[in-house]
């Protein structure tokens, strides 16, 4: 390709954060009309680089050229002016605004210099959505739209600003495989019309399917660039991680035992009072992993919160270890032997300002030997912490460091250590590896299988289909608050699961 084809070029980008070198002399370029994938693990520096291109961070050094001219990007406004648009991993949409309001924000059309012209904006949005085949209704409130449509709103938002360079940050994380395929079609449609796309992801299959070029980042550095035809999953994976990666989890066939958890006709409401878990029934046996697959936001969070006592049930029954535990608060459930690795580890699982030692007794502080006659026993808390730090290889300078200072992987290990250190009959793990590095993911996967083989019942909830398929013995698929299918993990394909996750009925 000729050099005048380059629409965006970054040279020698370096960015420090306290204690971290997030970008280390990164070079990156983008040709007109191509999809250039940026691949890397969590924390490899992809998002930092994109935030620099989009003006959210200033680089410590390095230069950026857009359309062959040196560009100064200090704020998002600068990058918008240069024709760069970004669809963030967490959508930058305001739920209580309409689609039109979200799209016009910052670039409003006004009448008589002050009054917002909603009609003119709506017309513009309709025109754009027809032009690119992105159907959206400008008058709808964003909070009422499914995530896939919200993503389209984000893309139209960029096009409304005449973006010809589009950055998509982990766009498939919230989509079903089918929705992701639709997105890829849209991406190709956009490139045909002259838009150039930077596609950030950590999913190997997707890059191979959709990208024209692939650049891999690791530890803030660019490791290499490749064409899909000249590489494969294993090569990309070892580039990403820096060593050979075993993509499969080794496990023996499950030896299921008694029924540990039984859920019948469970109904749960969300904060707004909408029924988001609708008549869900399933059971988990000792010594098996039941994986709950599904796109985020289909009621999994509320399901787990109801099972663990964090959220009240609106209907249905739950038996745990043979006892009716319907509507019980967390404490008796924990005491009966449920361990819970929560979805949001910093919100539910840890008190970030507390020491590692205190976090390791967060839900057992009142039980002997940690709490005797309502008094805390520092000696017992200390020896517990030292033992768990050793056993679970938690990297911390001491048990008395605030847990908030540890890395994400070590924070998760603190939770896993705590939850598995008391007698466990059922392990509920919700998104246990989200946002972790490959080493920590492997460790936690291994730990889950160890627990299964010890006869613990495991309920695994994950939006990562690969994780579900690697660990589960049986898989239940959740769609819009219902379990649409439950199958033997050995007898199902990725494609089939994907269809169910998108709402297809098993019989069809």
């Amino acid at each position: 390709m000729a050099t005048n084809d380059i629409v965006l070029e970054a040279k020698g980008i370096t960015k420090h954060f306290p204690g971290v070198l997030a970008n280390d002399h990164v070079d990156f370029d983008l040709h007109k009309g191509e999809i250039h994938a940026l691949l890397g693990e969590n924390g490899a520096g992809k998002t930092t680089l994109m935030n620099i291109l989009y003006g959210l961070y200033l680089p410590d050094s390095g230069e950026i050229q857009v359309d062959g001219k040196p560009a100064v990007i200090h704020t998002p406004k600068d990058s918008i002016t240069l024709g760069i648009g970004m669809v963030h991993q967490h959508f930058m949409l305001i739920p209580v605004f309409t689609v039109a309001e979200n799209i016009m924000l910052g670039d409003e059309i006004v009448r008589n210099k002050i009054v917002l012209d909603q009609k003119a904006v709506a017309k513009r949005v309709r025109d754009l959505s027809h032009q690119y085949g992105l159907e959206i209704n400008p008058e709808t409130l964003v909070s009422q739209l499914p995530v896939g449509v919200q993503q389209r709103v984000e893309i139209v938002k960029a096009l409304y600003r005449n973006a010809h360079i589009l950055i998509l940050d982990e766009p498939t994380a919230v989509l079903t495989p089918q929705e992701a395929d639709e997105l890829f079609v849209i991406m190709h449609e956009l490139t045909k019309r002259g838009v150039s796309i930077i596609f950030i992801t950590h999913k190997l299959k997707e890059v191979l399917a959709v990208a024209d070029r692939i650049t891999v980042m690791r530890d803030g550095k660019v490791v290499g660039t490749a064409k899909p035809k000249e590489t494969d999953e294993a090569k990309l994976a070892s580039m990403m991680v820096g060593r050979e990666v075993i993509l499969k989890v080794d496990k023996d066939p499950a030896k299921p035992g008694n029924e540990i958890l039984k859920v019948d006709g469970l109904k749960v409401h969300d904060i707004r009072g909408l029924e988001v878990v609708r008549d869900v029934s399933f059971h988990v046996l000792a010594g098996e992993v039941l994986g709950i697959a599904g796109v985020q936001g289909n009621g999994q969070t509320e399901l787990v919160e109801a099972l663990t006592g964090l959220r009240s049930m609106a209907g249905g029954k739950m038996w745990f270890s043979g006892k009716d535990m319907t509507g019980k608060p967390p404490r008796p459930i924990t005491e009966t032997g449920m361990a819970h690795i929560p979805e949001d580890r910093q919100r539910h699982g840890l008190v970030l300002g507390y020491t590692v030692a205190d976090n390791m007794v967060l839900n057992t502080y009142y039980l002997p030997p940690f709490g005797v006659h309502n008094m805390l026993q520092p000696a017992a808390i200390d020896s517990n912490a030292r033992k768990l730090i050793e056993d679970y290889d938690v990297r911390t300078p001491s048990p008395y460091v605030p847990v908030g200072k540890l890395s994400g992987g070590n924070q998760q290990k603190v939770i896993v250590a705590r939850e598995l250190s008391h007698p466990v009959k059922l392990l509920v793990a919700n998104q246990p590896t989200r946002g972790l590095d490959v080493g920590s993911i492997e460790y936690i996967h291994k730990e889950i299988i160890v627990m299964r083989d010890r006869g613990v019942a495991v309920l695994l909830v994950s939006a990562e289909l690969d994780e579900i398929m690697a660990l589960s013995d049986r898989i239940a698929v959740m769609y819009r608050g219902q379990i649409v299918a439950t199958v033997d993990a050995a007898k199902v394909t990725r494609e089939q699961l994907g269809l169910w996750m998108a709402g297809a009925h098993p019989e069809e």
């Binding site: 998002p76 406004k77 739920p95 006004v110 002050i114």
Partner: protein, 356 residues
């Protein structure tokens, strides 16, 4: 604001008005009582309305402001001080003195708000603590200067409170004020009338202008606003300062429109009740105004019951006790905050400093 909320507000006001009508019917016709109560209600609701508007500007942009009480107190003092200076030291006519007072009061509110903005936006101090700092500072400064300037031996005015320029006169609005009986409702002083105008203006600004859209965006999801090139920090600063102007005007009501003197801590919790009105009004100007009217009505009830004291039957003697009747607005505030009358939803980023 949903219709249920307005219906509840209307009901509460009708009950309060009804009580006075029942008590006073032997002395005045219901129509006269109701118009007089309406006029009082609208007038005494003024600082609450302005305080609530102040809260709306701040919180819609994402800054919690519990310092409104202090801003109003400070504005009440400095506005009054300015009017007295103009009147006695510079020998200006009362009207000019009073208007200068209003100007200084509004400016004072803005300056206190600037301090709140520096604390909560730039230094990211816990916003509720920042507001408390404002309240404590305002109480201290006004108390100190009030004593130093008027009562100390070395005071500016020689140990006496000088002659004040009075209060702002009522404005006679042609046509409206000429309506028989009901015209009395529109016979109001300028700050009260401006408060009504500001309710309408704030609604328009918030929901129909670019400024309003961006303000709400910054209060709901500052990062989203930032990514489309809106300067979050600047929007928050300006809105907090505008909020301060509102609180300042509300403060002026106390010493330049209601009575012509200053008492330490004279705002008496009105700034906090205004916040409750804002919450009950679901952070909308009309809703907050309606809620402020409820508190105004409660105060009008108290005033009128004192007026008709002799007519209260012995079985309702409790209504004669001003301490007991005076509890009404406070208990009402607490009831409202329980959310039993319907939950309200604060702007999503309210109270959270913006971290890039």
């Amino acid at each position: 604001m949903d219709w249920r909320r307005f219906a509840i507000i209307a009901l509460v006001i009708v009950i309060m008005f009804g009580t006075v009508v029942v008590v006073g019917i032997s002395q005045n016709s219901p129509l006269v009582i109701i118009t007089s109560m309406l006029a009082t209600t609208i007038a005494v609701a003024t600082p609450l309305t302005l305080g609530a508007l102040s809260g709306i500007y701040c919180e819609r942009s994402g800054v919690v402001n519990i310092g409104i009480e202090g801003m109003m107190l400070g504005a009440a003092f400095f506005g009054w001080l300015a009017s007295i200076y103009m009147n006695t030291v510079f020998h200006q006519v009362p009207m000019l003195s009073l208007l200068t007072g209003v100007f200084v009061a509004v400016l004072t509110g803005g300056l206190f708000a600037l301090l709140h903005a520096v604390l909560s936006i730039t230094f990211k101090v816990d916003q509720i603590i920042g507001g408390t700092v404002i309240n404590i500072l305002a109480t201290g400064i006004t108390g100190f200067l009030n004593r130093q300037m008027f009562f100390g031996s070395g005071s500016v005015f020689g140990g006496t409170v000088p002659h004040s320029p009075g209060v702002l006169p009522s404005i006679h609005i042609p046509l409206l004020a000429d309506i028989p009986v009901f015209g009395r409702i529109f016979q109001q002083q300028p700050i009260t009338l401006s408060a009504l105008a500001l309710v309408v203006i704030t609604h328009f600004v918030l929901f129909h202008t670019r400024w309003g859209l961006r303000t709400r965006a910054v209060g709901e999801h500052p990062r989203a606003a930032d990514t489309v090139g809106i300067n979050v920090i600047r929007m928050r600063y300006l809105n907090v300062i505008i909020g301060g102007f509102m609180a300042g005007l509300g403060g002026a009501y106390f010493t330049l429109e209601s009575i012509s003197s200053f008492e330490p801590m004279m705002t008496n919790g009105r700034g906090f009740i205004a916040l409750a009105a804002m919450i009950f009004g679901n952070w909308t100007p009309f809703g907050a105004w309606a809620a402020a009217l409820v508190f105004g009505a409660a105060q009008a009830l108290q005033i009128n019951l004192q007026f008709f004291r002799e007519l209260i039957p012995p079985s309702l003697a409790i209504l004669q006790n001003s301490y007991v009747v005076g509890l009404a607005p406070y208990i009402l505030t607490m009831l409202i905050l329980t959310g039993l009358i319907g939950k309200t939803i604060a702007p999503a980023a309210d109270g959270k400093p913006y971290e890039k």
